[in-house]
């Protein structure tokens, strides 16, 4: 039972061999990731139920999101996953300089992701595109009409933000939501009075506009919880960075870097699902 004299410092007393400890750590992390998947699973379930029940809400809602910003964030996260994988590789090889460099790069990409998220959130908040009882689109606030305007129609004195490329250019006459990118859905919604569209579509579009706050409830809760996970991942990466700087890792002990990497990849994968489900639906 007594520890062998060559018992490595990083081997906890209750494990027999480093291999046993490594495998236990891996299994534990995978189980933790399972719990994370189930945590988000509840939210995806919520999304699925509401989308099945009220598809028009999602059609109406997703037009307010900026695909190019979302796409940019997707690329940022994918690249950060690559740098994280390279960091694990560097740790396995015992290349401390490379390990520190890749961890720092991953951290910076994470900051970049949150920066873009900040821009997106502030647009939504400014335009009153908030969940539930706080939903008050800019157009209704100013009494411009019952059709909420797209975020692109922000007042000219809006803070300098990357101009969304997708919806109609600023200053154009207020189109109905999505008129710019999906004219086929509500063909004559923007047409003159009297050319009433077929009732079913009109009803659907109207219901979608009325309940579009549900979409923003889902948007903010899902991306918000994901954002919290990004922040948690950044804390883990920073912790790995400082341990690596103290030389805690070696080719015989790099389990924590590997586990941190697994967690970071999960955070990425969740975003890979969020992006099409929120931004790219039709």
């Amino acid at each position: 039972m007594s520890h062998a004299p060559d018992h490595p410092a990083h081997l906890a007393h209750h494990y027999e061999t480093p291999r046993q400890q490594f495998e236990a750590g891996k299994l534990g992390m995978w189980l933790f990731l399972v719990t994370e998947v189930l945590l988000f699973g509840g939210l995806f379930c919520w999304y699925a139920v509401y989308r099945a029940n009220q598809p028009e809400v999602f059609l109406a809602g997703h037009r307010y999101l900026d695909k190019s910003l979302g796409g940019l964030n997707t690329i940022v996260l994918i690249v950060s996953s690559v740098t994280m994988a390279l960091a694990v590789r560097a740790a396995q090889l015992g290349n401390r300089r490379a390990l520190l460099g890749f961890l720092a790069a991953t951290f910076l990409f994470a900051c970049c992701f949150l920066g873009v998220k900040y821009v997106e959130y502030s647009h939504k908040i400014r335009d009153g595109l908030l969940p539930g009882r706080h939903f008050q689109p800019a157009a209704e606030k100013t009494g411009a009409g019952r059709v909420p305007v797209a975020p692109a129609d922000a007042p000219p004195d809006a803070p300098p933000a990357p101009a969304p490329a997708d919806p109609a250019p600023a200053g154009a006459p207020a189109p109905p939501p999505g008129a710019a990118d999906a004219p086929r859905l509500v063909p004559s919604a923007a047409g003159p009075e009297g050319l009433a569209p077929p009732p079913t579509r009109e009803v659907a579009a109207e219901a979608g506009r009325k309940s579009v706050h549900l979409f923003f409830g889902i948007y903010f809760v899902m991306t918000g919880l994901h954002g919290l996970h990004v922040i948690a991942g950044m804390i883990v990466i920073a912790w790995l960075f400082f341990r690596a700087r103290r030389g805690a890792f070696s080719p015989s002990y790099w389990l924590p870097v590997d586990l941190g990497g697994l967690y970071w990849h999960l955070v990425d994968v969740i975003w890979i699902f969020l992006f099409p489900l929120l931004y790219l639906i039709h």
Binding site: S2, H14, P131, H134, H213, F220
Partner: protein, 553 residues
């Protein structure tokens, strides 16, 4: 460490209780046994609190109108009783107290896989309990322990602290489960294959799977409830286009498996105790082991039976009803195997065995009435009545609580190295058994006759049965007080316990009582955990020891 362990052979090693003194050596310990004791103290404190609420509820129900409190207080009392008993007592009860202490010992391991995470689980439990207590102080919740929307988003009571507490407790439970799965997978000793594990470990393994897979869903549900209440996103609010029944689906997707988190470890305890006190090898080992996994699997498929009257489609009701019946199969497999174990055994009616026999009887009633509640034709009538209240007390109280008490009396000598007074242990088991039936059997009748649950005022024709039930409740609590004092008395005044006082073959009995810090001085012998034939009674130590190994054949 090695110097200590190399001390004079044959002398008693220092027990884990003697390693370090003072509060810090306890609340920051990484030793699974001490964490088990920490859980024991906190869980039992919760049990007392929950029991107090129960007695207040029963006292209020002595008369059809107001007895001692107003309607709002009554609603808070039954909510707190449910929430405290479920989240703070039964769910952590057997896994965290007995599991933490016994699981590594049964594996012959020095600790669980992640001792720090284990301590973190206990701290999360404490923080979660503090939130729950805060909620009691600043405006106790009155939503019922299920926190159904839209009531829970509209009531003025402190829903957020309580649900926050339940969320944190959920993570405590997840980490315990995660730890157990990894420990069982990776720390089994050489020579112990999956099918040589003690059945308690199978049960804890199945439990841990449910904890890991179901609890996160409760977590996200409670988060959504908090978000809904604080921000008003309209997830569950019909006025904003949301669906309150979705909450019920989410909630029961966790909370139905959660009842198996409560009952499976109890069944594991029964499998251990029943074999030891029948002095016979467990009957149908692989079926008992497999039925634990089968129950864990089926537990995820039956949540809809809590919503038979919510307007679910008749097709869904039919499917959920059929799946609910199927849970009866593995449960019955266990019960029949226990009975077969006792059959022609040499039954020793010691205290743990009395509690466990109580379990089999009460759980039998609870399980069979569960079939009434799974059958669509009968459940519509008795749903949300005292019949349901009685059913889940027979399963959740007659099950896990009886088993936990049996487990405490069984492993108490291992926990603290002291024997309790057998007579008072037996008295407590009998008093609780009688009190339990007097309390809860009348509730079956009440429910069938039309008494809805969660009623402050009730029609006067139900008064006599309510009075009977309340008196039974008082009697029941006397039984628990006796058990409590018997156990505490044993710690301070008990006679010293042998390493293996009951003659069990699992590995925790191969080390001294109480065990040393690293559990085993010499590597334990890995064998059939139910092979009792190799043990002989040793008068001198009042315990069992392995029969001297002659050069057999």
């Amino acid at each position: 460490m090695s110097t200590v362990e190399a001390a004079v052979p044959g002398a008693e090693p220092r027990s884990y209780l003697q390693e370090g003194r003072g509060i810090r050596s306890w609340i920051f310990t990484l030793d699974h046994k001490r964490i088990g004791v920490l859980y024991l103290v906190s869980v039992m404190a919760s049990f007392l609190l929950g029991g107090l609420f129960a007695l207040l509820v029963r006292t209020e129900l002595l008369t059809p109108q107001r007895t001692i409190m107003d309607a709002q207080t009554y609603n808070q009392m039954f909510t707190l009783h449910g929430a405290v008993m479920i989240f703070l007592f039964i769910i952590p009860g057997i896994p965290a107290v007995i599991g933490n202490f016994v699981l590594p010992l049964m594996l012959g391991a020095k600790d669980v896989a992640f001792p720090r995470l284990n301590l973190a689980s206990w701290w999360l439990y404490v923080v979660g309990s503090l939130f729950a207590l805060a909620s009691i102080l600043i405006g106790a919740v009155d939503t019922g322990w299920t926190f159904y929307t839209p009531y829970s988003t509209e009531t003025s009571t402190a829903v957020v602290p309580m649900t926050m507490g339940a969320f944190i407790l959920g993570f405590s439970s997840v980490f315990t489960g995660l730890n157990f799965i990894v420990t069982i997978h990776k720390l089994r000793p050489a020579g112990m294959g999956w099918f040589r594990m003690p059945l308690l470990l199978w049960a804890l393994y199945a439990t841990a799977i449910i904890q890991v897979l179901a609890t996160p869903v409760l977590g996200i549900t409670l988060i959504l409830l908090i978000v809904e209440r604080v921000v008003g996103v309209g997830i569950f609010d019909p006025a904003l286009g949301g669906d309150p029944v979705l909450y019920q689906h989410f909630f029961w997707f966790y909370s139905h498996p959660a009842v198996y988190i409560m009952i499976l470890p109890a069944m594991g305890v029964v499998s251990e105790v029943i074999s030891v006190f029948s002095r016979k090898h467990i009957f149908g080992y692989s079926f008992i082991a497999g039925s634990s996994i089968a129950i864990a699997f089926l537990s995820f498929l039956v949540w809809g039976h809590h919503m038979f009257t919510s307007g679910q489609s008749p097709l869904a009701n039919t499917i959920f009803s059929a799946l609910t019946f199927s849970v009866a199969i593995p449960s019955a497999v266990k019960v029949f195997n226990w009975l077969a174990t006792m059959f022609r055994g040499n039954i020793v009616l010691k205290t743990p065995m009395l509690w466990i026999l109580g379990f089999i009887f009460l759980f039998g009633i609870g399980g069979l009435t569960g079939l009434f509640l799974g059958a669509l034709a009968t459940v519509i009538h008795v749903h949300d009545t005292y019949f349901v209240v009685s059913h889940f007390h027979y399963t959740m109280f007659g099950g896990p609580v009886m088993a936990l008490m049996g487990a405490l009396f069984f492993w108490w000598p291992k926990f603290f190295g002291r024997m309790y007074v057998e007579f008072w242990g037996k008295v407590s088991a009998v008093v609780v058994f009688i009190g339990f039936n007097v309390t809860f059997f009348p509730q079956f009748i009440l429910g069938l006759r039309g008494m809805p649950r969660r009623y402050y005022n009730y029609p006067p024709e139900f008064e006599s049965l309510h009075v009977l039930s309340t008196l039974g409740g008082y009697f029941l609590s006397i039984g628990f007080l006796i058990a409590f004092f018997t156990l505490v008395h044993a710690i301070f005044r008990g006679k010293k316990a042998a390493a293996n006082p009951f003659g069990a073959a699992t590995m925790e009995w191969q080390t001294s009582s109480p065990p040393p810090l690293h559990n085993f001085v010499e590597a334990p012998h890995v064998g059939d955990p139910y092979d009792l034939a190799g043990l002989v009674y040793d008068e001198a130590s009042d315990g069992f020891r392995p029969a001297a190994k002659e050069g057999s054949s």
